[in-house]
């Protein structure tokens, strides 16, 4: 009796072991990728996408999307330079024939040739933690988390001068011949910052501080010379909001009562999105920056679902809106292309946490 019983159990045990071994042979199948098809990019040949990666993981990448073939090169910087871009690429700025990748944790500004993605120079900024960059008249201005703003000459690629803004500067923009820097104070939890510093571009000295909402981050100017800032709030009772700064008086003049995590201005329109991590809900608004009116409460009209919007950019020529989806930062992202009517045209895969996108000729 025991014999029979044990043989049965034994067989069961070995079947389980065998099943386990069989499962091991079954490697996960790669998700089928859509066959690349050419897309319309206007006169642009393609776009570079800076994927932030994850902090402390050295996995920032620059993906290249080719409009003519519809193909993606996932990690173009590494393919070309035989080394990784570094840790937490936070911003990518295109200026002339060069791109400037601001790599936060690796503490450098990587100067890259646009034509072939070859590194020209790594400008080291030890301990400063660079965050965002903007260009003006042959210079690059870089905001750094240590409170400094760096002025880099685009010919010598040397740091020419350093100015001091407030706590943990994030967004940086130029309007009305002045430089604006958002002092997020993001590392001063719970006492986040609430000012934007204004610098004279000629003397590179601070003119004034403008009082804005809590935790200001993104900063962009429109065609009228207005500056828009989104203040992230405190992730608790102060919601993220978009505000308008009049650059003639250098004061905050308007608050838009819609949540804004990130935005992008193209011509007359500002595309605003928000993502609430506690509810995991997104919103997509469109603002007319000429009339300063919200003209759409839901930009995406065809029901395309974006799980975690992480970056936004507009093709300056045809007005296509590109939104990066980070999928809760769990794995590689996607970029969705919408026409200006809010219909998804196509989508492609990029690296982890796609944040900044630039269009190149």
């Amino acid at each position: 009796m025991y014999n029979l019983f044990s043989v049965k159990v034994l067989r069961g045990a070995f079947l389980l072991v065998l099943a386990g071994l069989l499962v091991s042979c079954h490697e996960p199948e790669p998700t089928p990728k859509p066959t690349p098809t050419p897309v319309d990019g206007g006169s642009y040949r393609g776009m570079y996408i800076l994927n932030q990666g994850l902090m402390n993981s050295n996995n920032s990448t620059i993906s290249y999307f080719d409009f003519a073939t519809g193909e993606v090169t996932m990690d173009m910087f590494k393919d070309v330079n035989r080394r990784g871009l570094g840790d937490t690429g936070n911003d990518l700025l295109l200026y002339g024939s060069k791109m400037y990748a601001v790599v936060n944790v690796s503490n450098l500004v990587e100067v890259i040739n646009v034509a072939d993605c070859k590194s020209i120079k790594s400008i080291s900024t030890p301990g400063r933690q660079p965050r965002h960059a903007i260009s003006h008249a042959g210079k690059i201005y870089v905001s750094c988390f240590d409170g400094s703003v760096l002025k880099i000459d685009t010919t010598t690629l040397e740091i020419e001068a350093t100015a001091t803004a407030g706590a943990n500067p994030e967004g940086i923009c130029i309007a009305n011949n002045k430089l604006y820097v958002a002092n997020s104070g993001g590392l001063n939890y719970p006492n986040y910052g609430h000012s934007v510093s204004v610098f004279d571009l000629g003397t590179f000295t601070k003119l004034t501080d403008i009082e804005v909402g809590l935790n200001p981050c993104g900063l962009q100017s429109d065609y009228q010379g207005d500056v828009y800032v989104n203040s992230i709030g405190n992730y608790r009772d102060v919601p993220p909001r978009l505000q308008r700064i009049d650059t003639k008086t250098d004061s905050m003049v308007q608050t838009f009562d819609v949540p804004v995590t990130n935005f992008c201005i193209h011509d007359q329109k500002a595309y605003l999105y928000s993502f609430d991590y506690s509810t995991q809900k997104s919103t997509f608004h469109v603002l007319n920056v000429g009339t300063e009116q919200i003209i759409s409460n839901n930009f995406i009209v065809d029901g395309t679902f974006i799980e975690t919007p992480y970056g936004i950019a507009v093709n300056p020529e045809n007005g296509d809106v590109f939104i990066g989806d980070a999928f809760m930062s769990l794995y590689d992202g996607n970029v969705y292309c919408f026409n200006n009517a809010g219909r998804c045209q196509y989508t492609f895969e990029v690296g982890r946490n796609p944040g900044t996108m630039v269009f190149v000729k």
Partner: protein
């Protein structure tokens, strides 16, 4: 009613206990204690759950200084080692996160309510008698309820004083040193304070253990700026130093064979650099961590009658931690955070043996945890937990069956802000072991266990991003295994083999996700993981002639641990991070008259550092070979032990956790004086 009965029996026994003639019980008690305490692989009982034991002699043959080193030689275990002596070391058993493994130190669980995981680098093996790892619940049911409340239990038993030839004092002094500034002296002193009048055996004994450890940890490594074949640079680990002190005092009162009181005081202090991950193109790493932990615990048991026993365990634990980032870019220009937590613990357990075949156990554990910090607006959370377990064990010649149910009640509160909701849950587990032929030590076992882990204080309350609405992470385990041991040639040759296949599931896995920017992370109940695995072990030993013996032990683990959260995601069916499909270890020991030699091998298959199984996250397989040489000189009253370890012989530079390089080739030497 049952409790009332127990109480009456208990009171009666208090008076009657000493009058009993307990000849028969001795074997039973010892048997039970053995099962619970040190399960010898060749003991007569097969276990209904997989138990892996590293007894003292085995630990000595391993290149192990810290507990985590020893666990690398167990199957189904992934030791997450952040490199160096001071690097964090946690353990993942059978695909579950570190929070699912309880660590019991002399029978009482160690805890960290802030992170839920215990840093295993702090447990030094100098005074360790044995280390064992149970998956599922123990066959030995007379235990505190808390040891039923996790997926697996790691038991650390410290050395108990044993006095030979009427010697009242034992002394062991040790000095160890090695590469990269490693030095570690330790001392163990044991005293027999009083003898029993009745039989002359020790009544009161004590032991004191102290250990100091310093390691500079400035070992070399190579960075690959992209991947294998890409540009590289050779560097040295910086800010990897560690200074640690451990002190422990024990008092044992052996009232008689059936009852004992054990008092323990423990102190730990460490000050270490946090070298952090290797970051490309920058070297700044000057964060530091200080830990101070003290606890006192008391255990008392009494087998009042052959049918009834009682034990009480109590503990007070106080832990303090300081984290310093001297270059944090806030207004203060630094991050200097202190965390403090306390635990008050009381456990009562009753054991009742109404019939030759049946025993029952009822245990209740009460815990109170709280935590303070100098973080601004810190919520100061507290948690009251009551665990009640009821277990039954049926013990026959052919079949053993164990069944338990655990009830958990948790009440959370917070001084500021919202507290997490109450939890009340029942968690069942059952196991069975069958011995088909009494002539053979061949066993077939099967177990099922359902248990969960609570969100930690960090998960629930950390800054603005903790989430009080997190649900517990729920686990299911099913295991089917076989075990066989045999002794040949008048016990000179021993063979032990076991193999287990298992299926585990995790629901509501708690996952960290960055909030807007990568500086803020928040916790979500996001994942579902399924794990199918196999653990296999083999031990063979042969005493060829009296001083010459060989022993071989080998382990193999297979883990198919895959994400099952969302069919449409890019990681569905992908192997979870840091979990190799195949891994194993081997130890080969030769003992001769002149020298003992051990060769050890650790093998890990390829893994991924992130949930997505792509090239960017791929981490290659590695092997780690070590060689140990040891000899003991007998100098009449004193024994002098010498041990030399050559670690990572092949000088293979590998990482267990990505960008935390492990030490290359190095050596350690140890001198031990025993009186």
């Amino acid at each position: 009613m049952k409790r009332c009965l127990f109480l009456i029996t208990f009171l009666l026994c208090c008076f009657a206990g000493s009058l009993y003639s307990q000849e028969d019980t001795v074997t039973k008690v010892h048997h039970l204690k053995e099962v619970g305490v040190v399960v010898e692989k060749n003991s007569d009982k097969g276990q209904s759950v997989p138990v892996q034991v590293l007894p003292y002699e085995k630990l000595q043959a391993l290149p192990a200084v810290q507990l985590s080193d020893a666990l690398k030689f167990m199957s189904g275990v992934v030791v997450k080692d952040y490199g160096g002596v001071g690097g964090l070391k946690t353990v993942a058993v059978r695909g579950f996160g570190a929070q699912h493994t309880a660590v019991a130190y002399d029978g009482i669980a160690a805890s960290d309510c802030q992170t839920g995981q215990i840093d295993l680098s702090r447990f030094m093996l100098g005074n360790t008698e044995s280390v064992s790892l149970n998956s599922g619940s123990d066959d030995y049911i007379f235990l505190p309820a808390r040891l039923f409340a996790s997926s697996s239990v790691l038991n650390i038993k410290t050395v108990r004083p044993v006095f030979e030839d009427n010697k009242p004092v034992n002394l062991k002094a040790e000095l160890a040193g090695g590469s990269f500034g490693y030095i570690s002296p330790s001392l163990l002193l044991e005293n027999r304070i009083a003898k029993r009048k009745s039989d002359g055996k020790p009544l009161v004994t004590s032991s004191i253990y102290a250990n100091y450890l310093y390691s500079k940890g400035n070992y070399p490594f190579t960075i690959y700026d992209g991947g294998a074949g890409d540009s590289t640079s050779s560097e040295r680990r910086t800010n990897s130093d560690v200074r640690a002190m451990t002190g422990e005092a024990n008092i044992y009162v052996h009232f008689n064979t059936f009852s004992e009181l054990h008092l323990k005081g423990y102190f730990y202090y460490s000050n270490r650099g946090l070298p952090g991950p290797i970051i490309y193109y920058t070297t700044q790493n000057d964060n530091r961590l200080w830990d101070r932990n003290g606890f006192v615990q008391v255990s008392y048991y009494n087998y009042f009658t052959p049918k009834f026993a009682y034990q009480v365990n109590a503990k007070f634990n106080d832990a303090w931690q300081r984290y310093l980032d001297p270059h944090y870019l806030n207004e203060a220009g630094k991050l200097d955070n202190e965390y403090r937590q306390q635990e008050y613990y009381l456990s009562n357990a009753f054991w009742y043996h109404p019939h030759r075949l049946i025993s029952l156990s009822l245990a209740n554990d009460l815990l109170y945890n709280d935590m303070q910090s100098n973080l601004p607006d810190f919520v100061e959370p507290g948690r009251f937990t009551s665990l009640t377990s009821l277990s039954a064990f049926f013990d026959s010649r052919h079949v053993d069956v164990r069944a338990s149910v655990l009830h958990t009640f948790v009440y959370n509160h917070a001084k500021r802000g919202e507290a997490a909701p109450k939890v009340s849950r029942f968690s069942p587990s059952a196991s069975v072991v069958v011995r088909p032929w009494l002539s053979e030590h061949f066993y077939i076992r099967m177990f099922y266990k359902n248990i969960f882990r609570l969100p930690t204080f960090n998960d629930l309350y950390y800054r603005d991003v903790g989430s009080v609405n997190l649900k517990p992470e729920n686990t299911h385990q099913v295991d089917l295994g076989v075990e066989y041991h045999k002794r040949f040639f008048s016990q000179k040759m021993n063979l032990f083999v076991s193999a287990d296949g298992y299926y585990n599931r995790v629901d509501n896995k708690i996952v960290a996700i960055p909030v807007r920017n990568l500086f803020f992370w928040s916790m979500y109940n996001f994942g579902k993981v399924e794990i199918g695995g196999v653990d296999a072990q083999l031990t063979y030993s042969y005493q060829i002639i009296e001083p010459l013996a060989v022993e071989l032990s080998a382990n193999y683990s297979f883990q198919h641990a895959v994400d099952k959260t969302d069919k449409n995601s890019k990681i569905y069916n992908h192997q979870i991070p840091y979990t190799p499909r195949h891994s194993g270890s081997g130890v080969f020991t030769v003992r001769t008259k002149w020298i003992d030699v051990a060769y050890t091998l650790i093998v890990s298959g390829a893994r991924y550092s992130m949930p997505q199984n792509n090239e960017a996250n791929f981490m290659p397989a590695y092997t780690d070979h070590s060689l140990l040489l040891a000899h003991e000189f007998d100098l009449r009253k004193v024994k002098l032990g010498l041990k030399f370890e050559l670690l990572n012989l092949a000088n293979k530079h590998y990482e267990v956790i990505r960008y935390y390089p492990m030490q290359g080739r190095s050596f350690r030497a140890r001198l031990t004086l025993t009186y």
